[in-house]
Symmetry: C2
C-alpha cells in the first residue's frame, strides 16, 4: 500500500514547509543541492523549483539563485478578464462598438498622476454592445507622444490593444488594475438605459509597456454580466495562463 508520490512533489512539499516554518526566509537551496539531498537528478529538482516559480511562490534569478517571494499569492481563485471581442465570441453574441469621443488634449490631473506624465493624451470614450444591449463603457487616456495616430484608426472594429501591439509596437508588459462594485453614476444612465444606482462593475486599469505607463482606462460594466472561471490549483499539466498576444 506504499504510496508512490512523485519525487518532485516531495521536493515541493519540503520547500513549502521550509518557507512556512521559517526555515527558508530568503534564499532556497539550489538545484544541485536539492538533487543531492533527495538523491534525484538535477532535472527533477529543477522541475520542483520551476513549478514553485510558476505558482509565484518563488523567484528564480539566473546566475544568482532562487528566492522566496515576500508577497505570496495565496490564490484561492481568480477571475480572468478577457478581451471583449473574445468574450463576445464565447457567448455567441453580436458585438457592436460605438465610439463616443476620440480627441486629443490635456488630461485631468488625477490621470496625469496615474500616467506619471505631463503632456497631451488621447481620450477615447466608447460603448460596447452585446446583442444590442449596452454592456460596457470605457473612458481611456493614452499617451499622445506614443500613439497619437490611433485617432485615425478604425476604432470600432479593432481593439485598442491590438492596434497598440500591431502598429505601434507597444507590447503591454504589465497591467495593474482594481475592481469594485458601484451604483451606476448619473452621467451614464442615458447610455446604459438603467436607473442611477443600478449595480455595475467598475474597473480602473493602468497598462505598461516596458515599465512606462501608456494607457489608463476606466471601465463601467453591467453587473449582471457574470465572470465565470474554472481552474485547478495544479498548474503544470494544464490550465490557465495570464498570457495575451
Amino acid at each position: 500500500m506504499a504510496e508512490k508520490p512523485h519525487k518532485y512533489l516531495k521536493i515541493i512539499e519540503y520547500i513549502k514547509k521550509g518557507i512556512d516554518y521559517k526555515g527558508f526566509t530568503d534564499s532556497i537551496p539550489s538545484e544541485n543541492q536539492l538533487a543531492e539531498k533527495f538523491g534525484v537528478s538535477r532535472m527533477t529538482a529543477r522541475r520542483a523549483l520551476v513549478e514553485l516559480a510558476l505558482e509565484g511562490t518563488v523567484d528564480r534569478i539566473p546566475g544568482k539563485g532562487t528566492f522566496v517571494r515576500k508577497h505570496r499569492h495565496y490564490t484561492s481563485g481568480f477571475f480572468t478578464v478577457r478581451p471583449f471581442r473574445k468574450w463576445a465570441e464565447e457567448l455567441n453574441a453580436e458585438l457592436r462598438t460605438e465610439v463616443l469621443k476620440a480627441e486629443i488634449g490635456q488630461p485631468p490631473h488625477d490621470v496625469a498622476l496615474k500616467l506619471d506624465y505631463q503632456g497631451e493624451t488621447i481620450l477615447l470614450e466608447m460603448l460596447n454592445y452585446l446583442d444590442g444591449i449596452p454592456v460596457r463603457h470605457s473612458k481611456r487616456y493614452l499617451r499622445a507622444d506614443y500613439c497619437a495616430g490611433i485617432l485615425w484608426e478604425d476604432l470600432a472594429n479593432q481593439s485598442v490593444h491590438e492596434i497598440l501591439m500591431g502598429k505601434y509596437k507597444l507590447p503591454l508588459t504589465r497591467i495593474s488594475q482594481t475592481m469594485t462594485a458601484v451604483g451606476l453614476p448619473a452621467a451614464l444612465t442615458d447610455l446604459f438605459q438603467e436607473a442611477a444606482g443600478y449595480p455595475v462593475f467598475f474597473f480602473q486599469r493602468i497598462a505598461f509597456s516596458e515599465k512606462i505607463p501608456i494607457n489608463y482606462v476606466e471601465y463601467t460594466m453591467r453587473g449582471d454580466m457574470a465572470f465565470e472561471d474554472t481552474f485547478s490549483p495544479r498548474l503544470y499539466p494544464q490550465d490557465i495562463a495570464p498570457v495575451d498576444q
Copy 2:
C-alpha cells in the same frame, strides 16, 4: 550572424502556425513525431507542448494525444480571490468572524443539483468583519457524508478551507465560480447595515475534491472592497518572444 533561437521555441512557432493556417485543426503531432521531425530529443519536443498547454493553446490527454483547444483563453488580465484571512493581513485590518448558523439538514433543491448529491448537508452561515465593518457574508453547503464533524470545529478562527484540507484530507482540486455585481438583497440589510440595493459583489463557487463537488458557497461582499492585481503577461522564465519580423 546566425541566429540561435532555442529549439523548443522553433517548435512552438511551428505548431502555432500550423494552427493558424489550419494545418492542424484538431490533433497535433506527438512528442515522438516532433522530436524526429526537428531532430531533437523527446524532452525538448515535450517542452514545447507543455508550454502550449500552459498557455491554454492546447489540451494534452494522457494515452490519447495533444489537441487544439477550441476555446482559447485570450486572457487580458485577471483578479485573484485570496483567502479572507490573507487579505486581512495584507490590509493590516483586524479580522473577526461571526458564525450565524451551523446546522445539518436537507439542502434546497438547487443546491442539491449543484452538488449532484441527494443526502444531507452542513449549512454554515458566517459574517466576516474587517476592523469592525461587516464586509462579507457567506452561506455554505458542505456534503455531510464527507465532513459532518466540522460542526464541532472552531469555525470562527479557522477557515473552512483549512479545516477541510487539514483534518478531513479533502484537498480542493478544482474551483468553479461566477461573479456578478448586484444590489444588496433585503434579507441582508440588517447584517450589513446598508440599504437594499447597495452595490455588492455576489460570488457563487463550487469546490471539488478529486472531481467530487463537496462545497457550494455564496458570498456577498461589499462592493467598495477593491480587488487589486498587478501582473506581467509572461509566464515561463523566458522573456518576450521576438515577435515575427
